[in-house]
Amino acid sequence: MGNGTSIGRVRGLGASHHGAHQWLVQRTTAIANVVLMSWLLVSFVMLGDFDYANVLKWLSQPVAAVPMMLLVVSLFWHARLGLQMLIEDYVHDSGTKFAVIAALNLAIFGGGAFAIFSVAALAFGGQA
């Protein structure tokens, strides 16, 4: 841990102790988004027909349901970091900032859980 010298602060990764963690996660989720969004757009072109029965048949297969769930995780995680950065840049009052970031986290986990549950319901053949 840091003892107050410059190099000590660098080694200790600063006051929050996680240094560039968010920066790095934004990059790793970005790479996942490139891969999984490419899969989604190619799937859309291949699918062609977006009727209920046709989409259900496609998305209830494991080979489509699993990447869709991974895509939801990766997109929501990346979006959370991006929106948090927006809030940190433009909301200056620390109390308001805390409240908005808390609301963001609720929306991200709520929306993500709903989306993943929906795909799981399709894949397991139940009605949500």
């Binding site: 209920y52 929501f76 991006g82 929306g111 319901a121 009605q127």
Partner: protein, 126 residues
């Protein structure tokens, strides 16, 4: 706290392609986070809720306004993708030479517009 100097913002600096690509990256990213994820969640939720819910999703998203949103989201995706790839190149320390940086800031949104057109051509021609 309120007296601290702030950096001049978009309305102060003379516009250049680097500024445009930077603010486009933020606008398209946060736009997709707010609108795109809502459409994705709605689409998956409607599918899981059955044929009737999916039919009403299709009616709204297939309306002229819905299609504008979908085309806008696809444009936002490709724009964010291209400026994001530009960021990856800059992350490894490359592409900071003035001419190269300017060239790629112009190229990124242009390539993105072409990809958007190409994607919809593929979708509609099938």
């Amino acid at each position: 706290m309120n007296q601290r100097p702030l950096s001049p913002h978009l309305q102060i600096w003379r516009w250049g392609p680097h500024m445009l690509v930077s603010i486009l990256h933020r606008a398209t990213g946060d736009g997709m986070a707010l609108v795109g994820l809502a459409v994705l969640v709605w689409w998956l939720g409607a599918l899981a809720s059955g044929p009737e819910a999916y039919a009403s999703f299709q009616v709204i998203i297939g309306s002229p306004l819905g299609l504008v949103v979908l085309v806008g989201l696809s444009w936002a995706f490709f724009t964010h993708l291209m400026s994001g790839l530009r960021h990856f190149v800059m992350d490894i320390g490359a592409g900071y030479e003035l001419k190269a940086n300017r060239a790629w800031s112009i190229a990124a949104p242009v390539i993105a517009a072409l990809l958007t057109a190409g994607f919809w051509a593929l979708m509609l021609l099938r």
